[in-house]
C-alpha cells in the first residue's frame, strides 16, 4: 500500500515515550527497588503456582471489592464484570511471566491511565494491590511449608514488582490528572460564557452572546445536550440577540444543535433574530428549515410555552377589580 501522499506520518509514540519513561528510567526504578535478574528468575518459577491460584485470588478479590457501594458502580452488568475479571486475571499472571521491559511498562501505563480516566480512586487502587499481595502470600505459603526462607524471598520478589507497578500507576495518575485539570479549567471557562438556564419545568434558555466559532459552537451544543438530559427538558429557547453576525457556518451550527436536541426529544425555538440578521440570512440563502424562529426573546418564551402546552393568558392590570377572580 502506498503511504499517504498528502502528509508526513506523525511520529508514532508509546505511552511510555509520551511520559518520558525510557530504558534509563526503567533501570532506575528497578535499582531503587533492588529488583534484578534473581527476582525475575524467582517470579518465573512462581508462574505455574500463580496461574493456578489466579482464579481463586480473583474471586476473593471481587467478592471483597463488591462489598463497597462505590465500587459496584464500576460494574453495571455481568458482562462488564466478566470482562474486567478476565483482564485482571491476565494482569496477575503477567506479574510472573515474560520480560519486565518497556513493553511491560507500556501495559502498566495503559491500565493506570484507563483507571484514572474512569475515576477509580487511588485509595481503591492501592487497596486492591494490598489485597492481592496478601492473597498471593497465603497461596505461596501453602505451596511448600518446608522451605519458608525461599518462599519469603520469592514473595519479596513479587512485592518489589508490585511496587514498581504501583509507581508506574501513580505516575500515570499524576500525568493524566494534570491533563484533566487543564481541560476542566478550559471547560469551566467556556461554560461560564455559555450558561444554560432552566426556566420553568422542562424548559431551558440558552442566551448566546458574541461570536460563535466552531469550537464554541461545539461546546455550546454539548452543554445544551447534557442540560437536556439533566433537566429532562422538552423545549429550548436559544436566544441569539447578542450574536453579532450569522453567516452560513453559524446557521449550520444552529441547525445541527436543533437536530441533536430533537434526537433527544426536545424542540428548539430560536429567538432574537434581528432585522439585520434576517436580511443577511435571506441574502445568503440560509434556510433554517423546520426550526422555529421568532423575533425577540419574549416571543421566544411564549412560543416555547405554547409548545409545552401552557396556555398563556393575559390577565388584567393589577388594580383591575376583576383581577384575582380566576379565569
Amino acid at each position: 500500500m502506498s503511504p499517504s501522499r498528502t502528509q508526513l506520518p506523525e511520529k508514532f509514540l508509546t505511552l511510555a515515550e509520551m511520559m518520558n519513561i525510557g530504558d534509563q528510567d526503567l533501570a532506575r526504578r528497578k535499582e531503587f527497588l533492588e529488583f534484578g535478574p534473581d527476582d525475575e528468575e524467582r517470579l518465573h518459577k512462581l508462574a505455574p503456582l500463580a496461574v493456578n491460584y489466579a482464579e481463586d485470588v480473583i474471586e476473593a478479590f471481587y467478592e471483597h471489592l463488591l462489598k463497597f457501594e462505590e465500587m459496584k458502580a464500576f460494574f453495571p452488568d455481568n458482562a462488564t464484570l466478566a470482562r474486567v475479571k478476565a483482564k485482571q486475571k491476565a494482569y496477575f499472571i503477567r506479574l510472573t511471566q515474560g520480560k519486565y521491559d518497556l513493553d511491560y511498562v507500556e501495559e502498566r501505563l495503559k491500565i493506570g491511565s484507563v483507571h484514572e480516566q474512569i475515576d477509580l480512586p487511588v485509595k481503591s487502587y492501592l487497596g486492591m494491590y494490598s489485597f492481592y499481595l496478601r492473597e498471593a502470600w497465603k497461596h505461596i505459603f501453602e505451596s511448600d511449608r518446608a522451605q519458608p526462607d525461599e518462599l519469603i524471598t520469592t514473595f519479596f520478589s513479587l512485592m518489589k514488582l508490585v511496587f514498581m507497578d504501583i509507581s508506574l500507576t501513580i505516575d500515570t495518575y499524576i500525568d493524566s490528572r494534570e491533563r484533566t485539570i487543564k481541560s476542566l479549567q478550559q471547560e469551566a471557562i467556556r461554560e461560564l460564557s455559555t450558561p444554560v438556564l432552566p426556566f420553568r419545568e422542562g424548559m431551558l434558555l440558552l442566551p448566546i452572546i458574541g461570536q460563535i466559532d466552531s469550537q464554541r459552537a461545539r461546546q455550546l451544543t454539548e452543554h445544551l445536550l447534557e442540560s437536556i438530559r439533566a433537566n429532562r427538558a422538552r423545549v429550548i429557547v436559544i436566544d441569539i440577540t447578542g450574536v453579532a453576525t450569522v453567516d452560513s457556518r453559524v446557521a449550520n451550527h444552529l441547525v445541527q444543535t436543533v437536530e441533536a436536541a430533537r434526537l433527544m426529544g426536545a424542540e428548539v425555538v430560536i429567538s432574537g433574530i434581528s432585522p439585520e440578521i434576517a436580511l443577511t440570512m435571506v441574502t445568503l440563502g440560509i434556510d433554517l428549515g423546520s426550526v422555529h424562529t421568532v423575533g425577540d426573546l419574549q416571543n421566544g418564551i411564549e412560543h416555547a410555552e405554547q409548545l409545552m402546552g401552557y396556555k398563556v393568558k393575559q390577565f388584567g392590570e393589577v388594580n383591575d377589580k376583576n383581577y384575582g377572580d380566576g379565569a
Binding site: T221, L225, I228, R229, R232, R234, Q256, A260, G265, A266
Partner: protein, 126 residues
Amino acid sequence: MKVPILKQGDFLIASIQGALTDTDLTSLQENLVSAVRKNRSKGVVVDVTVLDVMDSFAARTLRSISLMTRLMGANLVIVGIQPDVAFAMVQLGLKLEGTMTGLDLESGIAMLKAADQKQERGHNER
C-alpha cells in the same frame, strides 16, 4: 445479544441492553415486526439509553423498523439517545427523519399515547 421485548398494554418496549452487532440489529428488526403483528400493538418504544454508538447501519435499521411497524399500524418512538451519541449522529448526518424521538421511556409512552389518541380522533371524525 438478544433485545428483550416487553408488552405494556397496547405497546411494546424494546430495551437495548448493550452494544449491538449488525446481526443483532437485523434480528431486532425481525423480532419487533413479528411481535407487533402477534400482539397487534399500536406502538413501540425502542430504548437506546445504553447504546454508546449509533452509526449509519444502526440508524438505517431503526428507520426501517419504524417504517415497517407504521405500515402495520404501530407508531414507533426511539428514546434515550445520549448527549454524546446525539452529537455524533448529527456530525455524521444521521437525523432519523420521520421517526419520533423522546428523552426516556416515560416520554416515549406519553408520545405513543398522544399519537394514538390523535389517530383515533381522526378515525372518529370520518
